[in-house]
């Protein structure tokens, strides 16, 4: 797949369809991939990678990139296309300035899960069917692919790209998942049990803001948590109230707009299952307002809030937001 992607990227650069490419750059090890922009075939040949660890959703970068000079080529996995669609719907990206090539994904791996098995000194991984061979400086180890699968891929909501200019590989279908299982489990807890569950999780929070900063739904020009007068500022973790409120308020802010891309939980350095807060909202919205999948399209009326250019206060929101 990587070869096909690289070759298409070089073609689209060469024929002038785009002037740069957003994708993933290989790192020092097998798994430390960085989202990156490539401007030449040489850069692509040297560093472009698409493999089991290219989980990062690059759509949020398009908020800035799509406003720059020239069209940018973005390789998007199915779940990433939902994010881009939602950003298009909210007028946060210039979709016309993006050339989307939809690419398939059969699930990304999470190195943290491999390390949690006690495997260390990792120098490479090989995926053969359901078996993962992890090469380490201490010798080879094997585990099942399912055990190493990134949480966000364990309950894949769709194999269907919802926006693209062209596809590499076959498109799939929207999948029926078990993604609300854990939400139901939480719903069935007593309120004390549920409180204890969330206190245990949220007390780990170090207020790094990685969840907010990676979130494709969190694209405000200036975040409410950057306001020193808000009382819930973007650092500190001064008390449990603050830890709780940061995540709960954020979940409210992205409700109805969160596509369930799972990036919040993927990047959390403390492994807090933040996506469960969002999934609870998605589940509630489904039952209260009818089935709704944020990012599935760019035109349907959203359950909670819509972003239109003729909003009576559109400019106020923008002016207030600009630093």
């Amino acid at each position: 797949m990587q070869e096909a992607i690289i070759s298409r990227a070089k073609q689209l650069l060469a024929d002038g369809t785009v002037n740069r490419v957003i994708g993933w750059k290989r790192g020092e090890f097998a798994y430390d991939i960085t989202p990156a922009i490539f401007e030449s075939p040489e850069e692509i040949d040297a560093d472009f990678v698409y493999d089991d660890f290219t989980s990062a959703n690059v759509s949020k970068y398009l908020v800035k990139e799509s406003r720059k000079e020239g069209k940018i080529l973005a390789f998007l996995k199915t779940c990433d296309t939902y994010s881009l669609n939602q950003l298009t719907k909210e007028h946060r990206v210039d979709r016309d300035n993006i050339y989307v090539v939809g690419i398939p994904s059969d699930g990304k791996l999470d190195v943290e899960k491999i390390k949690a098995k006690g495997i260390t000194g990792i120098t490479g991984v090989e995926r053969n069917g359901d078996i993962l061979t992890v090469k380490t400086i201490y010798g080879d180890e094997t585990m099942s692919v399912a055990d190493a699968m990134s949480n966000k891929c364990l309950s894949c909501k769709s194999k269907k790209h919802v926006t693209y200019d062209e596809l590499i590989g076959e498109d799939g279908e929207v999948t029926d998942t078990n993604r609300f299982d854990m939400v139901e489990k939480l719903e069935n807890m007593t309120s004390q049990e549920r409180y204890d569950f969330w206190r245990n999780e949220l007390s780990k929070c170090i207020r790094c803001n990685a969840c907010r900063n990676v979130c494709p739904a969190c694209t405000c020009e200036n975040c409410v948590f950057n306001n020193p007068d808000s009382g819930v500022e973007n650092k500190a973790a001064a008390d449990s109230f603050e830890e709780n409120m940061f995540h709960i308020i954020r979940a409210f802010h992205v409700a109805g707009r969160c596509t369930d891309c799972g990036e919040c939980s993927r990047v959390c350095p403390q492994n807090i299952p933040l996506h469960l807060l969002n999934r609870k909202f998605i589940k509630d919205i489904n039952s209260l307002y009818g089935e709704y999948q944020a990012g599935a399209d760019t035109t349907s009326k959203a359950p909670l809030n819509n972003y239109t250019f003729d909003d009576c206060e559109a400019s106020i929101v923008h002016e207030r937001g600009v630093e």
Binding site: G27, E28, F29, Y31, D32, I33, T34, P35, A36, I37, A56, Y61, V111, E112, K115, A116, K117, G118, T120, G121, I122, T123, T136, I137, Y138, I206, R207, C208, N209, A210, R212, N213, V214, N226, P228, E233, N234, K235, A236, A237, A238, R266, V267, P269, Q270, N271, E323
Partner: protein, 339 residues
């Protein structure tokens, strides 16, 4: 050297915890480990290192500095400082042990930070040599030998026993306090373990990473490098690297009105945050490029410039594992060292 067999280690923990608070690295449900206050039945984590660094013990994420009572035009300052209680941190790795030396240079230089000093004086650090370093380890780059950790007491495991060596008076006091549980042991197998670890160290993927291209005299050269743009282009501007880093020590001071008075507290801050240098009339580091550059320049150039060549990194590898976009000091060093 004095030792205790590994089966009896929990007995030692129990004996220590009866006299003072003891923290050990323990496993969490998600497989990561963190320092926890020792309680009966708790076992030492087998993980190489804790998810959060050990700096919290001396420089907690938030702490109260002073209280104020405000009545009309009158202000009263209430000094809330109290002598800390003695505590022991067991199982600190060589990298984190060195981080205390670095933090000391900041907090114990004049004017001494009494909050930090208080905890530092009351804490006993018992370190544990590494036997199975990870691919993300590069402590050797900063002259740290993971088989010879610093600390008040150094410990080693040969697979059967834990060996103890006090390094100073505080360490001697600790060893004396548990001496009836310790016995003299032969270190032959231990020496073998150390030799093996050293062999592994030489084979680590980052074994050849060098600080040669960095230091105080490279300031303008690195500051002006054109590579910062590409290195920082996908940085999210979050504080993960800063907060998991054992040597990052920037802080903010804030006031909180409790309704009954004002609490002035300090909390970890991050140079990666957009408001770090923001003033009423402007910001000197407006772009993420500038903020990103600041963090790495501080560790690789500014800190050594002010501290006799000592770098502000210990090679623990936490930022390598935890950065959401896998951009880190190793990649920065490798990019900048190429002229």
């Amino acid at each position: 050297m004095l030792k205790i067999s590994i089966e009896k280690l929990n007995g030692l923990f129990k004996a220590v915890a009866e006299k003072q608070t003891l923290y050990i690295p323990a496993d969490r449900a998600d497989g990561a480990s963190e320092y926890k206050k020792y309680e009966d039945g708790m076992t030492l984590s087998k993980n190489l290192n804790t998810l959060r660094s050990a700096k919290d013990f001396f420089f907690p994420q938030t702490e109260n500095l002073a209280d104020f009572k405000v009545e009309g035009k009158k202000i009263e300052v209430i000094d809330i400082r109290e002598e800390a209680e003695d505590f022991v941190v067991f199982g600190v790795r060589a990298c984190d042990a060195r981080s205390f030396t670095i933090l000391d240079k900041v907090f114990l230089s004049e004017p001494v930070d009494s909050y930090y000093k208080n905890r530092r004086e009351h804490g006993t650090i018992v370190t544990m040599a590494c036997a199975k370093p990870a691919e993300t380890c590069f402590c050797g780059t900063f002259g740290i030998d993971p088989t010879e950790p610093e600390g008040d007491v150094s410990c080693w495991s040969d697979g059967d026993s834990i060996f103890f060596r006090p390094n100073n008076e505080k360490g001697q006091k600790f060893v004396d306090s548990v001496s009836e549980l310790l016995e003299d042991g032969d270190t032959a197998k231990l020496d073998e373990t150390k030799a093996q670890t050293k062999e592994i160290m030489a084979k680590l993927p980052l074994a050849n990473l060098s600080t040669e291209a960095f230091g105080g005299d490279t300031l303008m050269e690195h500051f002006k490098s054109e590579k910062w743009a590409e290195l920082s282009e996908s940085c999210l501007g979050c504080g993960t690297c800063t907060f998991v880093c054992p040597t990052c020590q920037c802080y903010d001071i804030k006031d909180f009105n409790t309704g009954h008075g004002i609490k002035r507290f300090r909390c970890w801050d991050s140079c990666m945050y957009s408001d770090f240098t923001k003033m009423a009339h402007g910001n000197i580091r407006n772009s993420q490029l500038e903020r990103f550059r600041q963090r790495f320049m501080h560790k690789l150039v500014y800190f050594p410039s002010n501290n006799n060549g000592e770098f502000g990194c210990v090679g623990c590898g936490r930022c390598l594992s935890k950065c959401p976009i896998s951009m880190n000091i190793v990649k920065v060093m490798k990019a900048l060292e190429v002229k």
